[in-house]
Symmetry: C2
């Protein structure tokens, strides 16, 4: 190794350390100003993958941290998912309700869908106001709201008056503007590339 | 209830059933053409939340379906996450390696970061080529690639020659173009709204 190369590496390392120190200082400063502790309203929306999956990821993180979780699935009633099987290991921490009858294009029955949505929302309200759990996941609530199967006004009211420390996660594409407005953390999952477009099947164990 | 109202509801229901039937037919037709079964290369990128969380969500889904999973965390070495604690319940199905030393702005030591990245990548290659697992999660690999701490060529080569059925999930912002090119499913998590912007702290149990 010649001197020039060695000097360059050393310089690189020094420059990096300085840059990272500045970054850390800036970050620590930001974190120091963030003092509000409260339960968050989290929305995962957009056309891409990962909305429900990230919601379940938060659930598993919360469980790992000893929290209690309530879950309502609004439109995936017929699907026996891997998440469900994995959650079975934490029965004492998780209350799981699958209320939907499957996607609406499977049922083709609007009346039954509305009844199922109303029942699911009633259970959701109970879980949100139940102070024995810390996190509530309302999976695919956005889809039910989009079809106007339950009144958005009641949803907004319930979320605004939720127990202060309660975290609520809402998933599904086409999140309503009014809902985004009262949420703390909103992420849109965007499709960059999808295997369906190149003839690849949905893969069991991975995608459902 | 007057007749007009009832008629409208009935009409609505009929129209809905017809629309959903058409939707289902179109969807079933698409699914019928998707015949390729193979292990997917999945990338979660973008500046928003949920990249790692959705990755862990896939891991829990796979575990629930009886699969075996290998995990390498590239840059979160110091964080004792809830995911880690939840995964402890599935020790016989999960091989977990935390190789990073924490975010680079915490360590401020480029040389040590490079050594940690190289070690983590070596372990990743072993896990990818190990035919006893089904899914490998390389958490924050994109960040390490962005800093050029490990050679992208070796990563591409390893992924192109991976066991056919192996699913590999890669997370981290700024995914490299070459990586996106060989991936099957790429999602970008975009920030719509973030609590940091309104003075809210990162919430333990939920965000880390």
């Amino acid at each position: 190794m010649n001197n020039k190369k060695q000097l360059t590496e050393t310089e690189l390392n020094e420059r990096h350390a300085f840059k990272m120190l500045k970054k850390k200082e800036a970050r620590d400063k930001i974190i120091a100003t963030k003092l509000i502790e409260k339960g968050l309203i989290i929305i995962n929306t957009g056309k891409g993958k990962g909305k429900t999956t990230a919601g379940f990821g938060i659930v598993f993180r919360a469980i790992g941290n000893g929290m209690r979780v309530g879950i309502v699935q609004f439109v995936k009633g017929k699907w026996e998912t891997g998440e469900r099987l994995a959650l079975d290991k934490f029965k004492e921490q998780v209350e799981f309700h699958t209320m939907g009858e499957g996607f609406t294009w499977e049922t083709q029955d609007r009346e039954r869908d509305i009844l199922a949505a109303e029942k699911a929302w009633k259970k959701s309200k109970e879980l949100i106001n139940d102070t024995t759990n810390n996190v509530v996941l309302l999976d695919e609530l956005n889809i039910v709201l989009r079809y106007n199967y339950i009144p958005i006004g009641d949803v907004l009211e319930t979320l605004k008056n939720k127990p202060k420390d309660k975290h609520v996660i809402i998933t599904g594409r086409n999140a309503k503007e009014e809902l985004i407005e009262i949420a703390d953390l909103v992420t849109s999952m965007e499709i960059i590339k999808h295997p369906f477009r190149s003839g690849v099947k949905a893969q069991k164990g991975i995608e459902f």
